[in-house]
């Protein structure tokens, strides 16, 4: 009975968030002069078509990887806003190295993955080192490092250095990776699914395994649960924080691969900034759980995809950003309220039990 109520409470949070988001969406649409009912149904119908769903999953893959990267940091209360710079720098390095060598496919892909992991980890390690050795707040240092990464890439990606400019094109890119370094798409009746979905699944599984089945994962969870307890138990906080930053960066290094290996095969001006906030939000939605983050990434991508239709009905699709913020905020509030409700429930149960023994 108590267990059932617990499960109901757990589901109550997302349900409440979804409901609130729906109400806000309807209100904003009405304020913009659109009919909320038909507009939302139209967006939903578009979003749920098989073709769109495949596109949603494709879009969710980098979000998921960014979410896992953020989740790794979250366990130690490290907010890795540098996912942005780490992923772009890693994608850039990967594209340059990947296009510079000719290798048989398995070796080529292994090299590419290796470069991505190392480049992301190395860039994040700077922030990790500054945090551990000099106490520099990770949010601040990673934001600054993002700006540095942007400048470095811009400098290296000029046609005089590592960039290429096709005639008639205005998009400066790196050289193209040879076909041995491509990952083929998975054909489905509703369109091509990016093959890197398997990489995302692998990263998620690896994250779950390390977190739940290894000593270091245990240490991280302990540290996240209670810093004092962890220190008393002899866990070395700084070492753990540094490793978490590096690991977060390594996973962030993978974020660009779906686009790089699955579609564009070169790094260019079209690798967007701003994935760090998406990653953090998605990790929050998924409560750092490998499956939960996947759901979060899917929801995020679904909202953004289905919002495309709004433009056609003359509504700014930026209401999606409002919705995303509302969902994150209401879900964290709801989780907190649920936690309090549970604590109260437990207290009452204990009190009852105690009363029972007294009587």
């Amino acid at each position: 009975m108590a267990r059932l109520r617990g499960a109901a409470l757990l589901l109550a949070a997302p349900a409440a968030a979804a409901f609130l988001a729906l109400v806000v969406a309807a209100a904003v649409l009405a304020a913009a002069g659109a009919d909320p009912g038909t507009t939302l149904l139209d967006a939903l119908a578009y979003g749920l078509r098989p073709e769109t769903l495949v596109a949603v999953v494709n879009k969710a893959i980098p979000y998921y990887l960014a979410g896992i990267a953020a989740a790794v940091g979250f366990h130690l209360r490290l907010f890795n806003i540098g996912i942005d710079g780490q992923y772009r720098l890693a994608a850039f390095a990967t594209a340059v190295v990947g296009a510079g060598v000719a290798l048989p496919a398995p070796l080529h892909l292994a090299l590419i993955a290796g470069v991505a992991l190392v480049a992301g980890a190395a860039w994040a390690a700077i922030a990790g080192l500054l945090y551990v050795r000099r106490g520099v707040n990770v949010v601040i240092s990673t934001i600054m490092l993002n700006a540095v990464a942007t400048g470095l890439i811009a400098w290296l990606l000029s046609p005089e250095r590592l960039g290429r400019l096709a005639p008639g094109s205005n998009n400066v890119t790196t050289a193209t990776i040879a076909e041995s370094g491509w990952i083929p798409a998975i054909p489905t009746p509703a369109g091509d699914l990016n093959g890197l979905v398997l990489l995302a699944a692998l990263a998620g599984a690896g994250y779950g395994f390390v977190l739940n089945r290894t000593t270091i994962g245990f240490e991280a969870r302990t540290m996240g649960f209670s810093e004092r307890a962890a220190t008393v138990a002899g866990i070395r906080g700084p070492r753990l924080a540094f490793l978490a930053m590096a690991a977060s960066g390594a996973i962030a290094g993978l974020v660009g691969l779906p686009q790089l290996l699955g579609s564009s095969h070169r790094f260019g001006l079209d690798f967007p900034a701003g994935l760090a906030f998406t990653g953090l939000s998605v990790a929050i939605l998924g409560r750092n759980h490998p499956v939960g983050v996947a759901v979060g990434a899917f929801v995020w991508a679904f909202l953004e995809r289905s919002a495309q239709v709004l433009d056609l009905s003359g509504v700014s699709k930026e209401i999606v950003t409002i919705l995303q913020a509302v969902i994150v905020l209401s879900i964290v509030v709801a989780y907190e309220l649920v936690r309090r409700a549970r604590t109260r429930q437990e207290r009452r149960a204990v009190a009852r039990a105690v009363e029972g023994t007294m009587a």
Partner: protein
């Protein structure tokens, strides 16, 4: 500590260092033809670049002194830019000022609701507010600015100006020294003139907020209570100071300051609202609080350093090369000191970057504009990494207070 002697000794060190650093940079700029390093225009641009960061920094200071990390500053600034611009266009500067501050206060109170009342993680709440502000403002632009001439979904029509003033007599008194071309002295005159001529009224107001913040937080009972809540909320609570009340208050002030920073951006630093205008200034303000050791005077210094670098790279890229040389000399000096103290690791830590910077400057003389673009951020990072030893954040920073 309170005797005049000890105060002057305490001040002597930094003053000597600042004067020395200024003289070295001034000579370098003369030698390598980078006249803009200390020019009147450059200094007045520094003020304009520093003021919004200073406001964000002061906002962060209020919040952090009460124990809340305000990662929502960026969002509050965004709200300040949009609502400030919108109201200023509709009704004029005064209402714009009120709306900008008001929007910031509203977001501050929302952050209070989340972190104080609901006890949600401070970082998550703050970052989500940034998301909310970005979405909200673009949506609002689409229903207001998008249809008007000169406006679009990302831009507002022009916002009215704020008047500028000059200190009477300054030009006549110091102007000749600026024009005389004497090494160091003329640069010093230019700095003074940059600070006192053609200054926006709003800038003066912003500068006044620094002593005001210091006075309220350190010299009034209210400030004492806010700081107490940031250090030891349980203890404060047991003495009848209700933490939640003071945290709400501090967050409202924090948001108001950030909102004012947004209003500054749309009026003084430019003359319209533009999406993405805040460009991370809220976060940079947060950084100034950390290396400013949670004290308003150092926060001011931090924002000036950032504003100065930002102004330089925007106005004349060649000056960044000179700045690099100056930084190289500073590092070389630090390396030398470490080396003399037989701290080889420290010597290398400073020595290698010093050599890289000086060699680069010697060979290239200029820094490519792509690399110049992150000069302010790199400066912030270096200052943060060097300045840490004496820092002490409020003890209860980041921890929610559970009323039980």
């Amino acid at each position: 500590m309170s005797t005049p002697v000890s105060i002057s000794t305490r001040l002597a060190g930094p003053v000597v260092r600042v004067v020395l650093g200024f003289a070295v940079l001034s000579l370098l700029s003369g030698a390598f033809e980078a006249p803009d390093l200390f020019s009147r225009g450059g200094i007045s641009a520094t003020l304009r670049f520093a003021a919004p960061i200073l406001l964000a920094g002061l906002g962060a200071l209020w919040a952090e002194r009460s124990g809340v990390i305000n990662l929502g500053l960026e969002g509050m600034m965004i709200a300040g830019t949009w609502f400030g611009a919108w109201a200023a266009i509709e009704w004029g500067i005064g209402p714009g000022l009120v709306a900008g501050i008001g929007a910031g206060v509203a977001f501050g109170l929302l952050l209070g609701l989340l972190t104080v009342t609901f006890g949600v993680d401070q970082a998550i709440s703050g970052l989500s507010l940034g998301l909310l502000a970005a979405g909200l403002t673009r949506f609002l632009s689409s229903v207001t600015f998008a249809g008007v001439p000169g406006g679009s979904i990302t831009t507002s029509p022009p916002v009215p100006d704020i008047a500028t003033v000059s200190m009477p007599g300054a030009e006549a008194l110091i102007g000749p020294a600026e024009a005389a071309g004497i090494p160091v002295l003329s640069d010093a005159a230019a700095v003074v003139l940059g600070l006192v001529t053609d200054v926006s009224l709003l800038t003066i107001g912003v500068v006044a907020l620094v002593p005001a913040t210091w006075y309220v937080l350190w010299r009034t009972r209210l400030g004492l209570r806010i700081r107490a809540v940031g250090e030891a909320p349980e203890a404060a609570d047991s003495l009848g100071v209700r933490p939640w009340r003071y945290r709400y208050l501090a967050l409202a002030v924090s948001g108001g300051l950030a909102g004012l920073g947004g209003f500054y951006l749309v009026t003084v630093a430019s003359s319209l609202y533009r999406e993405g205008q805040t460009a991370g200034r809220g976060f940079i303000g947060l950084a100034t609080v950390i290396f400013g050791n949670w004290n308003p005077w150092s926060v001011t210094l931090g924002s000036l350093i950032f504003g100065f670098t930002d102004a330089l790279r925007t106005r004349q890229e060649v000056t960044v090369g000179v700045l690099l040389a100056g930084l190289g000399l500073l590092f070389a000096w630090l390396a030398l000191r470490r080396g003399l103290a037989c701290d080889w690791r420290g010597g290398l830590l400073f020595g290698i970057p010093a050599i890289v910077m000086l060699v680069w400057f010697w060979v290239e003389r200029i820094v490519p504009s792509e690399l110049v673009s992150f000069a302010p951020h790199l400066t912030t990072l270096v200052v943060l990494a060097l300045a840490r030893q004496r820092l002490r954040p409020p003890a209860a920073l980041g921890t929610p207070f559970d009323r039980g």
